[in-house]
């Protein structure tokens, strides 16, 4: 295989994986945009969505479409409930309180993993062929292609929702200024709930797609660690930022892994995005598309 073919392969892989990162990062962005809360439990959201889907599929034995639906409904309910029980009480508290609360939530969800209805890693089979599509020098696994397409679809969908729909405009108003939104007759608390439910939807899809790629167990939550480089690069409150950030992180980690891993013995994939993120924080902390509201002290 030629040198450029290797690079092309790394790039194509990076783009598709990057789009799948974008999908998960979208969950983070939606909540931050609407409620100013940061979700350090995004990976765990994806994990429990995977657990619900696999649990419905293998333990209850329902068909695949129903188990995906179960994951969606379950995560929407979870999002609403979480906002009601925990996050509403933390409105107006310092950042560290919300950060720690979501870290605590992550600990709870991860700790509950082994108490679930099944033990060990379970596959989440989707009706897709195993053989990769061969396009010239490129090998594209079908799941990544589907994942990338689903991500694009949802990113476009949420983009449309925020730009055009009545609810989306209301949510943008809430994100912009809660008091003015209240004065305009928008039910701010309800939209907080809606934002968390939307994160639930995104996480459910992420759980199904990533669960299919990696298998469903507690380690599925580790995918959440990729969210931070993506959102910092793209901008914390920007949907196009999530896409661009995801693409950058996907490409960088694949290229870095392809070229650096042979020298250091693996692990570059988890390392390179964070180096990039530190650089981004130093140079452009609000990200590529983020709002420039960062105070400099």
């Amino acid at each position: 295989m030629g040198d450029w073919q290797f690079t092309a392969l790394l790039l194509s892989n990076g783009v598709l994986i990057g789009l799948m990162y974008s999908l998960i990062a979208l969950g983070f962005v939606l909540v931050y945009k609407a409620t100013d809360a940061v979700n350090f439990a995004q990976g765990e959201f994806v994990m429990i969505a995977g657990f619900v889907a696999v649990g419905a599929l293998t333990v209850l034995g329902v068909p695949l479409w129903l188990s995906i639906l179960a994951a969606l409904v379950g995560m929407i309910a979870f999002g609403f409930a979480l906002e009601r029980v925990m996050l509403r009480k933390l409105i107006g508290r310092p950042v560290i309180a919300i950060v720690m609360a979501t870290i605590g939530l992550a600990a709870i969800l991860r700790g509950l993993g082994p108490f679930g209805i099944f033990q060990g890693t379970r596959p989440l089979p989707l009706p897709l062929p195993d053989e990769p599509f061969v396009l010239g020098p490129l090998f594209i696994p079908p799941i990544q292609l589907v994942g990338g397409l689903v991500s694009l679809l949802f990113l476009a969908g949420f983009g449309y929702f925020f730009l055009k729909s009545r609810k989306g405009i209301a949510m943008r108003a809430v994100a912009d200024n809660q008091q003015v939104a209240l004065a305009m007759g928008i039910n701010v608390e309800r939209y907080f709930g809606v934002a968390w439910a939307m994160t639930g939807i995104v996480s459910a899809l992420g759980g199904v797609l990533w669960g299919n790629m990696l298998g469903v167990d507690v380690n599925l939550a580790l995918v959440g660690f990729k969210v931070f480089p993506v959102v910092i690069l793209g901008g914390l409150d920007s949907i196009p930022g999530a896409v661009i950030g995801g693409l950058i992180v996907g490409i960088v980690e694949n290229v870095a892994a392809g070229y650096v891993d042979p020298f250091v013995g693996g692990g570059t994939k988890d390392f390179a995005p964070y180096v990039l993120m530190i650089l981004a924080l130093m140079i452009r902390p609000y990200g590529i598309f983020g709002k420039r509201i960062i105070e400099r002290v």
Binding site: I96, P114, I232, Y274, L281
Partner: protein
């Protein structure tokens, strides 16, 4: 005199800043000294002493993190990584150069302070959430570096055995010896922190926490003091890492992963942000929690689960309870155990009378 004040009756700044606000505080400190230096080590079994030692190590780390998060208001999710820097510095010095423990301890602390100050550089431009994510990146990058650079980690296992610390001719190998060894540093750390936060530097930290722009306007060099806070906090972390390495007899990066950083954050939140006593409460609470859970689970294990599954479930249960406690404290008692203790104390202050 054994009496308590019945209100805030201080008339001078000196009285307000005093280490012993009342004579009773001196007696209390003396009583605790007797308790922890004589009664506890003589009464407790070796196993319980080893738990007490873990608590002492955690107290030093929690004090360090509280200086940064509680007093200076800079969020850090990289405390565990700074500990690993200290631990590996000491382990390498001990095995390669055969350096004695005081040198290792100081070198570990200083190296961690240096790395901490470097990780803290982004704090000059960003704060809050962004800083939390930046320190998280610092944690992951340091973890990866130690794990992948064999010069630091000493091979594939990334663990280095260290010899026991010796004091003159004595080798500190028993839990009793370690107890006194660690307690000495706990006392130094507590007194050091108490004096730090009532000094000029500590007041600058608190000013930055309360309002950074106002602090800059009254002439506090934010650049210097933020980095200083990171350095001091990381020095404590490095010392904690070195002590933990000596306690275990081995430096292993798995003891300092991101979960440890979160444990320490939980300690100071459960204990109380910006309080020395809170750090101690929190460290003891978080360290003892899994042990209590294990006893409880073993006691009830026959009823609910089989013995084998209990051992698998303990870490998971610990994690769950731990997360729940963080959330409960954040929602219900943001000032932590320290606040509960103050409430109890102020209730008994004028006890038989209502006012």
């Amino acid at each position: 005199m054994i009496h308590r004040e019945c209100g805030i009756l201080k008339t001078t700044y000196e009285a307000d800043m005093a280490l012993y606000p009342l004579p009773i505080a001196k007696y209390a400190v003396a009583a605790f000294a007797v308790l922890f230096f004589l009664i506890v080590p003589l009464m407790l079994h070796e196993y319980f002493l080893s738990i007490a030692n873990l608590v002492w190590i955690a107290v030093i780390g929690a004090l360090g993190l509280n200086i940064l998060v509680g007093y200076t208001g800079q969020v850090s999710i990289g405390h565990g990584a700074f500990m690993s820097v200290g631990a590996y510095t000491a382990a390498n010095l001990a095995t390669r150069l055969d350096a004695p423990w005081p040198v290792n301890l100081l070198a570990g602390g200083l190296m961690a302070a240096l790395v901490g100050a470097i990780v803290g550089i982004p704090s000059l431009r960003i704060k809050g959430l962004y800083l939390a994510i930046a320190t998280l990146a610092g944690q992951l990058i340091i973890e990866w570096t130690i794990n992948h650079v064999t010069f630091i980690s000493g091979g594939v296992q990334a663990s280095i055995e260290v010899p026991r610390p010796r004091l003159g001719p004595y080798v500190l190998s028993s839990q009793h010896a370690m107890y006194y060894f660690l307690l000495f540093f706990v006392v130094v750390a507590i007194v050091g922190t108490m004096n730090l936060v009532r000094s000029r530097v500590g007041r600058a930290f608190i000013a930055i926490r309360d309002h950074d722009i106002a602090a800059e306007i009254i002439g506090i060099n934010i650049f210097r003091y933020k980095l200083l806070a990171f350095a001091i906090s990381s020095f404590y972390a490095g010392v904690t890492g070195v002590l933990y390495t000596y306690y275990l007899g081995i430096a292993n990066y798995e003891q300092f992963q991101i979960g440890v950083s979160i444990d320490y954050l939980a300690m100071i939140i459960i204990g109380g942000l910006g309080s020395v006593l809170g750090s101690i409460f929190g460290a003891a609470f978080v360290t003892l929690l899994p042990i209590v859970i294990r006893y409880a689970m073993e006691a009830f294990s026959g009823v609910l689960f089989s013995q084998a599954t209990v051992h698998n479930l303990i870490p998971a249960l610990r994690l769950t309870l731990f997360g729940a406690l963080i959330i409960v404290f954040l929602v219900l008692e943001p000032e932590g155990l320290n606040r509960l203790w103050r409430n109890i104390r102020s209730y008994f202050r004028v006890w038989p009378f209502a006012y």
